[in-house]
Amino acid sequence: MRAALRSGALALGLLVWVAGGLGAQDVRELDPLSPLESSYRRSVELLLDSARLAGLPTGPIESKALEGISKKVSGRQIVTVVRDVFRSLLRAQSSLGLRASPAELTAGANALRVGITSVELAHLASTRGSKDLTVPLVVLSDLVTRGVPRDPASQTIFQLWQRGAADDDFLGLWRGVERDIVSGTDPGIALMNRAREIPSRGPPPTTPPAGDRPDDSENRNR
């Protein structure tokens, strides 16, 4: 009788444990921010609302919060980093203009976070025409992250952009520089050497209409 009771209790415990685990998983899928403590969660949700109101993509903000949860970072630190992402997106929008795509804004925000200035971003955006800035900005951020000095990196990307370089050119430049850095070349020299290999693709893109230009007042302040 006692053995039967013990087995029954074990079965019940097993069921409760499994059901509890599945329940927690379901809640996480339905409400991914649920692991955050309520006050930090409220802060993240406020930032998401602010991003929506400002016309910013909310994906990078929510993704950063989820990344923090996944990496088991404290709620306080998650909110700090998420707020930083929000500010970067706002500055990127101000520099790249309201017609910048979510991908361009995300890439622009990343570039700002590695030290590229709003003025440099606006300079790049002012000659974008109908071309997409995402790949040049991704490559620029990567180069600075890998140790290429900021000014030469920014100038080289801008010159290539003006010479009509395509996405494949920028990605080829990135691969070459990355390979050279791994094999021991100074990052700045690697960039100079590899940039020379990229041929000119033709005239620079046309200047966008005046209404699409980024907010100059914001750029003057930076």
């Binding site: 039967a4 069921l15 993704s63 630190q77 990343n110 992250t145």
Partner: protein
């Protein structure tokens, strides 16, 4: 029985005697009665009567545990099959794209192959903005002993931030551009997925 009858109240005995008196029936009455019974539809038996009939089943404790575990297992496997995003269907990019021809390019997912060489790893997965950074959502598979881990993931056009998780450690993709410091002490990788018209 007779004693019981005799002990009844006289009035009651009279009523019972009346009730017992045989009723005179006509010659064909019995035949008509039987014909009427034959022509009347037989009452239908409930088809699920046997299934629905309540019954008690006595199981030993070990069988109860096994039954409970089995039911939970069926539920988990069923749920996994329904919600699995990394199954073999992901290896058919044309099906993914052809299934949504009316959508704009920015909404049509492209199937991306993630590859990582990690010969010493026991478990590898990919996490990123496409799976909510869920470390168990997109496990990678390895075949043979070359240590190459792969997985196919449908991604919408746009910029994606991701990382590999090798035995619990976040590792950036050595073949992709780096994102800036993630703010949490490590670096992620960046992937730009173009729409078909980009």
């Amino acid at each position: 029985m007779t004693d019981q009858f005799d002990s009844l109240d006289p009035e009651l005995r009279q009523i019972v005697a009346e009730a017992r008196r045989p009723v005179a029936m006509g010659e064909g009455a019995r035949v008509r009665l039987m014909q009427a019974i034959r022509s009347a539809p037989a009452p239908r038996r409930a088809r699920l009567e046997w299934v629905l009939r309540p019954r008690q089943i006595a199981l030993p404790p070990w069988a109860t545990v096994a039954l409970a575990a089995g039911l939970v297992g069926i539920g988990v496997i069923g749920g996994t099959l329904v919600t699995d995003r990394d199954g073999p269907s992901a290896e058919q990019p044309s099906a993914v794209v052809a299934g949504t021809p009316q959508l704009p390019d920015s909404l049509v997912p492209r199937t991306i192959k993630f590859v990582l060489v990690a010969p010493a790893a026991a478990r590898v997965s990919v996490v990123g903005d496409f799976n909510g950074w869920n470390t168990s959502a997109t496990p990678m598979q390895t075949r043979g002993a070359n240590g190459m881990w792969t997985v196919y993931v449908p991604l919408h056009p746009g910029l994606h931030t991701y990382s590999f998780v090798v035995d619990g450690q976040f590792v950036n993709d050595p073949t992709a551009p780096l994102a800036p410091d993630d703010g949490f002490g490590s670096r992620n990788s960046i992937m730009f997925v173009k729409g078909s018209s980009l």
